[in-house]
């Protein structure tokens, strides 16, 4: 870590910097805590501070098909979109390492990042127009899933690329001089090295898609809602504590999954370190 030379170098700037950061962290915590706090109110509308303390609205949300259905739709869309974006994003990152021309590499890299820069509303309108014109696509989730996959792909691409850049660049030529074919090289050399990064990319892509609301506004079939869409609609109607109870539940789920994932990846890293140590002492 750089912290102690940096701390010394920053000197008396330290206090204002820490102060600004501490205040800024309130921007993250306070709105979240407000949402959580209002979800246990006993009143039939959102109020702060909450009145009383009861789990009424949690059981209400869990029994309301509007919310549970939306949750299931979101799960389906996110899962399908994640698979597509992980496969294509990984292929793209692998292809990038195999391109010789510097210009080509630059353009490919730019292309894979560009979806981050596309305004979701404009893109949603475009997909919506496609849906109108191509009747064969019908009234289903296909276009929504594909669109979400495109928006999530940059995250997978960035993470897998960073994994590949840490790898020893001599491994692939070495395997190739030993007569290994490219699919074998991908399977035995590249993929094991980037498996962790692919998983991280997948988690990220899933979160991005699960979170995304604009595409669903335009592309969700009539009567079908994703969870963020359901939240958006609920927030524009009367403010029922259902909204904050559902928000709390989803956030808790995210925190749990993320916790499990980081525990798993820490274990993995510790195992790898142990193995590396054994290898160097042997």
């Amino acid at each position: 870590m750089v912290d102690s030379p940096l701390r010394r170098g920053i000197g008396w700037w330290r206090l204002p910097v820490l102060g600004v950061a501490l205040l800024t962290s309130l921007l993250f915590y306070v709105p979240f805590l407000v949402v959580v706090a209002t979800s246990w109110t006993e009143t039939s509308f959102i109020i702060f501070p909450p009145q009383g303390f009861s789990p009424t609205w949690y059981s209400d949300v869990l029994q309301d098909p509007q919310w549970t259905d939306a949750f299931k739709v979101s799960l389906r869309v996110s899962a399908a979109g994640t698979v597509i974006s992980v496969v294509l994003g990984t292929l793209g990152a692998l292809a990038l390492t195999r391109l010789r021309s510097r210009t080509a590499r630059r353009w490919i890299r730019t292309l894979f990042i560009v979806p981050m820069a596309i305004p979701p509303v404009a893109y949603a309108v475009g997909l919506y127009s496609v849906n109108l014109e191509v009747a064969a696509l019908g009234d289903n989730l296909a276009l929504l899933i594909l669109g979400e996959a495109l928006l999530a792909m940059p995250y997978v691409f960035v993470m897998v690329s960073s994994g590949l850049s840490q790898a020893d660049p001599a491994l692939r030529p070495a395997a190739s001089t030993l007569g290994a074919s490219w699919p074998l090289i991908v399977w035995r050399i590249d993929l094991p090295m980037i498996a962790g990064h692919m998983l991280a990319g997948a988690v990220f892509a899933f979160a991005v898609i699960f979170d995304e609301v604009v595409l669903s506004v335009f592309l969700a079939p009539v009567g079908v809602k994703t969870l963020p869409l359901q939240m958006l609609d609920a927030s524009q109607e009367a403010l029922s504590p259902q909204l904050t109870a559902a928000s709390t539940l989803v956030s808790m789920l995210a925190v749990l999954l993320l916790g499990a994932f980081s525990l798993y990846s820490n274990r993995r890293a510790a195992r790898a370190r142990r193995r590396a140590r054994k290898a160097t002492t042997a």
Binding site: S25, L88, I118, V213
Partner: protein, 291 residues
């Protein structure tokens, strides 16, 4: 094991073709599927937008540019994005520095905040800001408890109330790359600055800033471009007087029923945003830092 055998069995056939370095087969299978996906999912919607925009009687593009709501919204969106970007990058630099030099408890608190921002839905966070900023919302309650205010506060759906929420949404995109650059700082250069008598200002200017400048610019470009397409947060927190371009497009489609104008505006927005991104990418090598 079974898979390994299958791959090994497939070896003789592909092996002969794959022998040439940079083989065509390799490129075909790795590069073409994602490229085809891009062509289909970027190209077709853009073509559809163009068709849609040209389907009306008049010139939808000219009409859009003449509409004062649209022009105003463009100006407003650019200003919003510029202010949010500047604030996000500055605050993000402080935040990343604090993560690097702060005591352990603060580090955990700051990283926890980033995690909340990254992993809770943007809808959840925006709703939180709504509840905070409503005239008799949580902020009012707090101020009243502190005996600082007795009348309801009037910030909901104002521009000023929009900025903190926007910054909170964008901050992780600035903090993470800047933090990576800070953790990669050269310790010996920092020590050199200290030993040769430099104070904080000179140390920051001589060592820290040159090393993180590129990350700050990349983060800024990304935040700016993403801010241009911002929709949900301005919609809920900014209100009708703070409509962004995205909001205007939505209005053209759903309220004014002018699909052609909406499509034309969408094309202008996409074109403008992507053009800004590409120019910035050329100038500052943004995607090289990300990919």
């Amino acid at each position: 094991m079974a898979v390994e055998e299958a791959v090994a069995a497939a070896l003789p056939d592909t092996g002969r073709r794959g022998r040439a370095p940079d083989g065509a087969g390799e490129r075909r299978w790795l590069l073409w599927p994602p490229l085809a996906f891009f062509a289909l999912l970027l190209g077709v919607p853009l073509a559809a937008l163009l068709r849609q925009a040209l389907s009306g009687e008049g010139n939808a593009f000219a009409e859009s540019v003449r509409m004062s709501v649209f022009v105003d919204a463009v100006g407003r969106t650019l200003l919003l994005a510029a202010v949010a970007t500047a604030a996000t990058v500055l605050i993000g630099t402080c935040y990343a520095l604090a993560v690097a030099i702060g005591p352990a408890w603060l580090k955990a608190l700051l990283m926890g905040g980033l995690l909340i921002s990254l992993w809770t839905s943007i809808m959840v966070r925006t709703i939180g800001w709504m509840l905070l900023e409503l005239p008799t919302g949580a902020l009012y309650w707090l101020l009243e408890k502190a005996h600082l205010r007795t009348e309801p506060i009037d910030i909901y759906q104002t521009t000023g109330a929009l900025y903190p929420a926007m910054i909170a949404v964008m901050l992780p995109f600035a903090v993470l790359p800047i933090l990576a650059a800070i953790l990669g700082l050269d310790r010996e250069q920092l020590n050199a600055a200290t030993v040769f008598g430099a104070g904080p200002v000179l140390t920051f200017g001589a060592v820290v800033l040159p090393a993180i400048r590129q990350a700050m610019i990349s983060a800024g470009v990304l935040v700016f471009v993403m801010s241009l397409g911002f929709y949900v947060t301005p919609l809920l927190l900014g209100g009708p007087s703070n409509m962004t371009v995205s909001g205007i497009i939505n209005g053209q489609l759903n309220n004014a029923n002018r699909a052609d104008v909406g499509a034309a505006m969408s094309l202008l927005l996409v074109g403008g945003t992507v053009a800004i991104y590409l120019v910035a990418d050329r100038l500052f090598k943004v995607s090289e830092r990300w990919g």
